[in-house]
Amino acid sequence: MNWIQVLLIAAVITLLVYLLRSRTNAKAKAWVKVGYVLFVIAAIYAILRPDDTTVVANWLGVDRGADLLSYALMIAFVFTTLSTYLRFKDMELKYARLARAVALQTARTPDH
């Protein structure tokens, strides 16, 4: 085993432990965790047997496994960016409503 493989696997497992220990209790979060466990298994497999990703890539008409991974990464990045953007907009709206409630409670009326 290469040193890089040891380091990558250690990093992935550390992330997994961190994620599973976080106490977010919503039902939707459970699916995120399941998805993450599957991702970790796939990641460890790909680290140990990098050539296998090339086999999968060839099934899909891509030459190298590394190219396939970078395509997958691009999609994941766009997805993350968009969901973050929407989440921020949502937060902004809540923040505006909070500020509005404060504003309306502290309204000042003129004397005349």
Partner: protein, 236 residues
């Protein structure tokens, strides 16, 4: 400026002024409006200057955002304040930088009171008014109006005009979620979705050096278009 003042100030109408750091002009704008309208509310959008205090001294009700949220949010706050006041039946949005004429608001309110429309929007580009809109700005605004299918269907030529007059029905149902400058497009979409009856009224815009320096840069149009596309995704 002289105004053909009615005998008594109008009490059923509320003028909503969103203001952010307008201390230099807000006093005069409020005072001029107050010579015709009894009720003026200035939404101080987290200004760092004396905007709120000056507006209050000039006779406006002042609602202050604790932080700066943007013009769309300020208009929504102003409408929510005004509609909670007893006797409010007509509402107008009016820019704080002094680019609108009080006379135009009076004309638009008269138009609204005929009762066949729910909302009247000011336009620089219809009728015989000779507003000296800078050519590039004129071209961008007209293109923006033309690019929006909703604006075209409703027959609106100047969606980004800050002067709007509307009735109780519109005020009660208004929910602006775009905090920044994209609210103008959102307003048009709400008119369409809620089937509010809309018409335009020619108004004049006074392009002073001050209002030009405070106006939104044309590049901001990119943000407005982008937000417009994403808005549908955000509605839940």
């Amino acid at each position: 400026m002289t105004i053909d003042t009615h005998a008594a100030p109008q009490t059923d109408a509320w003028i909503i002024i969103p203001a952010f750091n307008e201390a230099q002009v807000i006093g005069d704008v409020v005072a001029e409006l107050r010579s015709v309208f009894a009720n003026v509310v200035c939404v101080d959008d987290g200004s760092s200057d004396e905007t709120g205090d000056i507006a209050l001294r000039a006779g406006a009700h002042v609602v202050g955002h604790p932080v700066n949220l943007g013009q769309g949010a300020a208009i929504q706050t102003g409408v929510e304040y005004a509609r909670s006041r007893p006797g409010a039946s007509a509402f107008a949005t009016f820019d704080a930088d002094g680019q609108h004429r009080v006379k135009d608001v009076v004309t638009m309110l008269d138009r609204l009171r005929r009762g066949d429309v729910d909302i009247v929007i000011g336009t620089r580009f219809a009728g015989s008014t000779r507003t000296e809109t800078p050519p590039l700005k004129r071209w961008v605004l007209r293109t923006a109006a033309w690019l929006s299918p909703t604006s075209r269907r409703l027959g609106l030529t100047d969606a980004h005009n800050g002067l709007r007059v509307f009735n109780r029905k519109v005020a009660d149902d208004l929910v602006l979620t775009m905090s920044g400058m994209s609210h103008a497009g959102e307003f048009i979409k709400l008119i369409d979705e809620n089937r509010w009856r809309v018409t335009e009224e020619p108004v004049e815009i006074l392009y002073t050096d001050y209002s030009m320096s405070k106006g939104q840069p044309l590049l901001n149009g990119v943000n407005i278009v982008f937000d417009g596309f994403l808005r549908r995704r955000l509605r839940r």
